[in-house]
Symmetry: C2
Subunit: 204 residues, 2 copies
């Protein structure tokens, strides 16, 4: 029996650049994990290809999959459904390959419930670490701007709690390097490696 792959979930606040990081990752040759294509009921945009950018489905087809529990996570945005087909994820993991999802925070929470052993990475806006400087050098920005940013930052920090890792999206390429390092490191975790070795010895 093959060892199962890792489920890698990249999420974070909207606008943080999840899609850009995902595209950069999958344009790099040494990226060793498989991208799980999302399913949607929205119409394809110019240049988008079914089965590459998304699986494009009708509302009826999508709702049928929901009722059959065939989606690992799903949500409705602005009148369209978006979701992750569970079959591809299960099949790829059972082949021993790592699967990568790039999804919204509500979706990530659904996946966490179904796959607590998954690898949850929170992509954080670079401004969070810049916040301190802004506060310290108060005067260059208005009180209202700082207070708004503080409120958002507090919400982002609460979101983080459901994740294993936080990757700052200061530069897209740096963020990708950190994500790949996290995947390599996770494959070296003793809790994952030792049982494999123990199984080898049980052959005796």
């Amino acid at each position: 029996m093959k060892e199962r792959g890792l489920l890698i979930v990249l999420s974070g606040p909207s606008g943080v650049g999840k899609g850009t990081v995902r595209k950069e990752l999958f344009s790099q040759e040494d990226t060793s994990f498989e991208y799980s294509i999302s399913m949607t009921t929205r119409k394809p945009r110019e240049g988008e290809v079914d089965g590459i950018d998304y699986f494009f489905k009708s509302r009826e087809e999508f709702e049928e999959l929901i009722s059959q529990n065939k989606l690992l996570e799903w949500a409705e945005y602005v009148g369209n459904y978006y979701g992750t087909p569970i079959d591809y994820v299960e099949k790829t993991l059972s082949e021993g390959k790592d699967v990568f999802l790039e999804i919204e925070v509500q979706g990530a929470l659904q996946v966490r419930n179904a796959f607590p052993e998954g690898l949850f990475i929170f992509l954080s806006p670079p401004s969070l670490s810049e916040l301190k400087n802004r506060i310290v050098t108060r005067g260059t920005e208005t009180e209202e701007l700082i207070n708004n940013r503080m409120k958002m930052a507090k919400e982002e920090i609460v979101m983080m709690d459901a994740y294993d890792y936080v990757v700052e999206n200061d530069h897209v390429k740096l963020a990708c390097e950190r994500i790949k390092a996290i995947v390599i490191a996770e494959h070296c975790r003793r809790e994952r490696v030792a049982p494999r070795y123990k199984k080898i010895l049980e052959v005796e």
Copy 2:
């Protein structure tokens, strides 16, 4: 106040190649952690320089440091003392830099007690993962050889339990890449990042 650096401990069974991996790591320009030089009472070998390869001390000086609790870990091998001066480690960590130790397994257990928050990496012989093939293709090796290897492997797996990560030393450069990935990943762990962000917000 600066955030403390990480204490990285590389250890593993004798003969696994810890020294070779450490030398390769510190010959690479992008290695971002500081090497903690060991202290010893053995005589310098041809070409070894005090303060670079080791801190060379007399037995009296070494025993004085032991009695003053100035060593993070120490042991006696073949009539000579070897140990890690605690001052350098503490100073470097408090400057926010990561410190790297390459030590024997008994030493690593001493450090684990003093620094449970450290990063403990077990360097494992590549033969452990080859073991299964050897068992499966029995006949190419004697029963005695396989049994000896099995016994050693069982001891190695017991040793692993005190570590966070297991890095297979199949190729020195690959082992170095994994170690550097582990350090990058650990800096992204939510348990390390979130408190930093929370502290920023407490400034308010």
